[in-house]
Structures are given as structure tokens and as C-alpha cells.
């Protein structure tokens, strides 16, 4: 097995008296698609927010590529190569698809506030290079023709793809997908599975939170199962499908 790109150890988080993440360990090797599943309220989204930097964990360690990142804010995580998509579409309204992807490439630019105000010509070649990369990202996902479209006006399924293009444009090491199949129909979900496999083939490690079991079983190399903030199982899809604890959580065993 490859070395772990993401290592989570002894992670705890609580809101008021509610212990939503209760000592979670999680390891995601480089180059795999790892899924985190669990019933509603299991703490999947909170775990995502903790890894992505939107929330600061109470205790515990999160390492990306060996570097301790627990408590770093989102924008620092993005600079470390951790990109994410959101559960509901969070494209920037009033901006074109291309501009949305260009915002995704923010970490690849260097021009500063004052230089941008005073000397626009200094940043022009950088801007050209970013634009080319943005178009390339759209092309790779087969949506180059949408470049000038108003992002927020696109159908939901397209918005999701634009969000993925925006996250992938800066070539992240780790991509966090928060319920990417949510709101998609069957053919769109099948298309999404194809894209996730292509992302993995491109060398990007994927961590996926998802409700859609068919998608998870189809694309995940490894699956971790959360239940009430604790990890109850971790393994290959085949192992997870056979795990008695998982079956009891999902189907409700006699002792539940």
C-alpha cells in the first residue's frame, strides 16, 4: 500500500454537549478513492469540515503529506493542496464559469493587492497563464463550451461538474467531495463515477462523503463507516459489505 497522504488521529469535536466526532482515526493512502459513509448524523460532514479547515478540531491530529494541519484555516489548506466541493452547489453567483474556475486557481497566482491596483500590466502574463489553465481544466471535464455561461444559471448537474473543475484546476493533492451525487439522476451519477475514476487516474487522491451506496461501492477503493461520531469499520467495499456491525447499523439488528 502507498504511504498515507491523509492521516487523522484521535480526532474529537463537539458542539455544546454534543460529541459529534468521538476519537476518529482515519488514514487515506495516496492515489486511492476513499469513501466515508454512515447514517444521518454520524458526523461525516463535521469530519469533512475539520479536515478542510472550516472547523478547528477540539483535540486530535490531522496530517496531510506528513505535515500537521489541524486548526489551519480553509485558505491555508487550499494552499497545501487540499481542494473541496460542497454539498449544495456553491458556485460564485454573477460570475461566468471561466471566472469561477479562475477563482479556483487563486492559489496558483501571486499578484498582490497594491500591484494589482497600481500596475495592471505586471500581472498580465500571469493572468494569461491562469486563463489557459482554467480553459484546460474545463476541457478536461468536457465543458469548455460553457466557459462564458453564467455559472449560477446552469442546470444542477452541470454546476456540479463546474464545481469539480474549479476544485481540480489548481491540481490539488487531495480532493474532498462532499456528497457529489446529491441531487443527481441515475445517468448523471453514472457519469460522475466515471469522472471520479478519471480523477484518481490523474493522480489525485479523493476523499468522498456520500449517501449513494451504488456510487460508493462502484468507485471507492476503501470505505470507512462512521456511526455516532465513532468509526466502526474500515476496509475494502467487499469487507464493509460483509461487516456485521455495518449491517446492523444500516439494517437495524435485533439488539439496536
Amino acid at each position: 500500500m502507498n504511504r498515507a497522504l491523509l492521516e487523522v488521529e484521535g480526532l474529537h469535536h463537539w458542539f455544546g454537549g454534543l460529541h459529534v466526532i468521538d476519537g476518529v482515526d482515519l488514514s487515506c493512502p495516496e492515489g486511492v478513492v476513499k469513501a466515508v459513509i454512515g447514517p444521518n448524523g454520524a458526523g461525516k460532514s463535521t469530519l469533512f469540515h475539520l479536515i478542510g479547515g472550516a472547523l478547528r478540531p477540539r483535540t486530535g491530529s490531522i496530517r496531510v503529506g506528513g505535515k500537521e494541519t489541524a486548526g489551519l484555516p480553509s485558505h491555508r489548506m487550499a494552499r497545501l493542496g487540499v481542494a473541496r466541493t460542497f454539498q449544495s452547489s456553491r458556485l460564485f453567483p454573477g460570475m461566468s464559469v471561466l471566472d469561477n474556475v479562475l477563482v479556483g486557481l487563486h492559489v496558483r497566482g501571486r499578484s498582490g493587492f497594491l500591484a494589482d491596483a497600481l500596475l495592471p500590466s505586471s500581472a498580465r502574463s500571469e493572468e494569461r497563464a491562469l486563463r489557459a489553465r482554467a480553459l484546460e481544466a474545463l476541457e478536461r471535464l468536457g465543458i469548455a463550451e460553457l466557459a462564458q455561461a453564467d455559472a449560477a444559471g446552469l442546470p444542477f448537474g452541470r454546476q456540479r461538474i463546474v464545481e469539480i473543475a474549479r476544485a481540480l484546476a489548481p491540481k490539488p493533492r487531495l480532493l474532498l467531495l462532499d456528497e457529489p451525487a446529491c441531487g443527481l439522476n441515475n445517468s448523471e451519477t453514472a457519469d460522475l463515477a466515471e469522472r471520479i475514476r478519471a480523477i484518481r487516474a490523474g493522480g489525485v487522491t479523493v476523499l468522498l462523503v456520500e449517501h449513494d451506496m451504488s456510487l460508493v461501492m462502484e468507485v471507492a477503493d476503501q470505505i470507512a463507516v462512521l456511526h455516532y461520531g465513532r468509526k466502526i469499520a474500515d476496509g475494502t467495499p467487499r469487507e464493509i459489505q460483509a461487516d456485521p456491525d455495518v449491517i446492523s447499523v444500516y439494517l437495524g439488528a435485533a439488539d439496536a
Partner: protein, 364 residues
């Protein structure tokens, strides 16, 4: 316009502004109506606040109901420093050295008529802008963590504090404000001052500064930074996930808009020769918000058009006793009937009336 290289196309509207400024002056001079240039000059200085707020509110989505405070800070800083009355007789060696460097300038103590020293306007100028920037920085760090109504209330409170301080501080002249502010001499005989003979150059000076502020705004909004600011406006959490340091970006725009406002304050103080605590009044700050809202929030040129016309009319006394009420009504009406701004609503109405094919609306 199609013949212009893309780098220059964004400055087309700026060139239009310059042309309009020249046209207005030529017309007024030809009609022997140069007295109107006085209010147009003041409108230019006040419009700097609107230009700064357009960046902050329109583009970055951060409301400020306290920017009159920053105009007052700039104006008062320059006013206080340039009207000091350090007795010239028996001045220390340091004072004499500063005088020989031109940092201190001779003037008459208005109370005693004796020779006195005060800070020269060009030396007071960076102090005024730096003070506004420092205050904006210190206020902005805690306040910009707030969003929406809470940010509006906190900035409103900031405006109140500045206003009450100016009314209470002895060296700020309390309710009288500061008068006798000297002319701000520039180069080649030019000066920012209310002298009748200098009406035309003063008009051009003020509008040149506005054009410069617009130049900076246009550059900023067309850049990677400007894109980041619009992203913050759209969705702050998503912007942060894209690697944008949202707190820092918001603070930078806040400071820039405060400095532009302070610049307007310095202009007003030296042009009018006096400044009063009314500049920091809350209703003044609300007025700037109304101008940006009526101008179309993110539209620089719409904001500038609305701001110069309405401020000019207000300064001419057209609205009489209902001055503040008119601006309040404009704010409400703009929100209700023309959320995309009055200029764009008018253009849309004209297009519909002429039933022309619809063109693509281009954000400024």
C-alpha cells in the same frame, strides 16, 4: 471600441469620464456660469467616498455605514496640523530645522496676530491618509468579522464615535469645527483652495484625483485580486476554500476605501478652508450608502454618475430642508425599484421604450 487592444478597452469609460469633465467645464465657462464649478469641485471630493464604498460594498459585499467618519478623519487631521499655532518667536532649533525643510510653514496666529508655525499641507497630507488607514486597520480587524446587519450596525457605531469625538475634542474645535485652513499649494502656482481665481484649476484637480481613484478601481476589479473580492461577495466560505485569505482581502479593501474617503476629506478641508463635525454625522454616512445603492452597488460609473449629480444638487440647495430626507428616500427607492441601479434601470427603460434589441449588460 473593437479596435482597442483588450488591455486598454477597460479604460474606455475612464476616458469618457475625462471627456465629460472637460465638456462640463468648457460649457459652464462659455455660459459664464463658472460658479457652478464650486459645487462640482466639492461633489468630486465627496465622490471619492462613493468610489471607495463602491469597491467595499458593491464588489466585496461589505456594508459600511461609517465612511463619513473616515472623510472627517482625513479632513480634520489635515486641518488640525495645518492650523497649529506654534509661536515663531523663541521656536526651538528643531522647529527651525523643520521650517527650513518646509515641513513647518509660517502663518499668523488667528488669536493674537503673532507670527506662528504650523505643519505645511504637503507634510500633513500623508499624516492624514496614514491616520485614516491606521484607524481603518484597527477598526476593521474586529468589525469585518461581522456580516450583514451586524457589520452595518458596528460601522454605524464607529461613525457615531467619530462624530461625538469631533464634537467633544477641544483641538478639533468642538461644534465650530476648524476654519482658516490654508491653501494646499501644489506645483506651478496650482493650489487646492477656494480662491475665486482658481475655480477652474481646482475643478480639474479634484476630478483628476477622482479619475485616479477610478483608474485604481478599474485595475483592481479587472485583476486576480478583484476576482477574489467578487468571490467573497458571492460566497465567503467557498472563497476561503479556494485559498483566498478572506479576512485579509476584506481588510485591504476596507483600508483602501477609508484612505480614498480621507483623501476626499483633505480636499474638502483645503478647498473650503474649513471643516465641521457635520461631515462625520451618521446621516452623511447613510447618504454615501444611498449613492452607491442608487448607482447600482457594483457599478463604478453608475455610482460616480449618481454621486456627482445628486451631491451637486444637494450642495446647490435644491433639496432645501428635505436634503437628508431626499437621500433616505433615494436609498429606499433604489432598493425597491432599481436594485441594479438607477442608470441601468433608466437605460433598460429607454431600451424597452425604443424596443431596441437587448444588448448584453456589461458590469463596470
Amino acid at each position: 471600441m473593437r479596435a482597442l487592444p483588450p488591455g486598454l478597452r477597460r479604460y474606455a469609460a475612464l476616458a469618457g469620464l475625462c471627456a465629460a469633465v472637460v465638456l462640463v467645464q468648457v460649457l459652464l465657462s462659455a455660459l459664464h456660469a463658472e460658479q457652478y464649478l464650486v459645487q462640482l469641485t466639492m461633489a468630486a471630493w465627496y465622490s471619492l467616498v462613493a468610489v471607495g464604498l463602491c469597491l467595499l460594498m458593491g464588489h466585496t459585499g461589505q456594508v459600511s455605514m461609517g465612511h463619513g467618519g473616515f472623510l472627517a478623519i482625513g479632513g480634520y487631521a489635515s486641518a488640525v496640523l495645518t492650523t497649529l499655532a506654534i509661536p515663531a518667536a523663541g521656536a526651538s532649533g528643531t522647529a527651525l530645522l523643520l521650517r527650513s525643510l518646509g515641513i513647518l510653514a509660517a502663518r499668523q496666529d488667528p488669536a493674537t496676530g503673532a507670527d506662528a508655525l504650523a505643519v505645511a499641507p504637503w507634510a500633513a497630507f500623508p499624516c492624514a491618509l496614514l491616520l485614516a488607514a491606521a484607524v481603518a486597520f484597527l477598526v476593521g480587524i474586529p468589525v469585518l468579522r461581522l456580516k450583514g446587519h451586524y457589520l452595518a450596525m458596528a460601522t454605524l457605531a464607529f461613525g457615531f464615535i467619530v462624530s461625538r469625538l469631533l464634537l467633544g475634542l477641544k483641538f478639533c474645535g468642538e461644534a465650530d469645527g476648524i476654519s482658516g485652513i490654508p491653501a494646499f499649494r501644489l506645483f506651478a502656482g496650482l493650489a487646492v483652495s477656494g480662491k475665486k481665481a482658481l475655480r477652474v484649476p481646482n475643478y480639474y484637480e479634484a476630478w483628476a484625483v477622482v479619475a485616479l481613484a477610478c483608474f485604481l478601481s478599474v485595475n483592481l476589479m479587472g485583476s486576480r485580486t478583484g476576482r477574489a473580492l467578487r468571490a467573497i461577495h458571492g460566497d465567503e466560505e467557498a472563497a476561503a476554500a479556494m485559498g483566498i485569505d478572506t479576512a485579509r482581502a476584506k481588510l485591504s479593501v476596507f483600508v483602501l476605501s477609508a484612505v480614498l474617503s480621507a483623501l476626499g476629506g483633505v480636499g474638502i478641508a483645503h478647498f473650503g478652508g474649513g471643516i465641521g463635525p457635520g461631515e462625520a454625522a451618521v446621516l452623511k454616512s447613510v447618504r454615501y450608502v444611498a449613492l452607491v445603492a442608487a448607482g447600482g452597488m457594483g457599478s463604478l460609473w453608475g455610482t460616480l454618475a449618481v454621486s456627482s449629480v445628486l451631491t451637486f444638487l444637494s450642495l446647490r440647495g435644491v433639496f432645501g430642508l428635505y436634503d437628508d430626507a431626499v437621500f433616505g428616500a433615494i436609498l429606499v427607492a433604489a432598493m425597491l425599484f432599481a436594485p441594479e441601479g438607477v442608470p441601468r434601470a433608466l437605460a433598460g427603460g429607454a431600451r424597452r421604450a425604443a424596443s431596441l434589441p437587448r444588448g448584453r449588460g456589461r458590469p463596470a
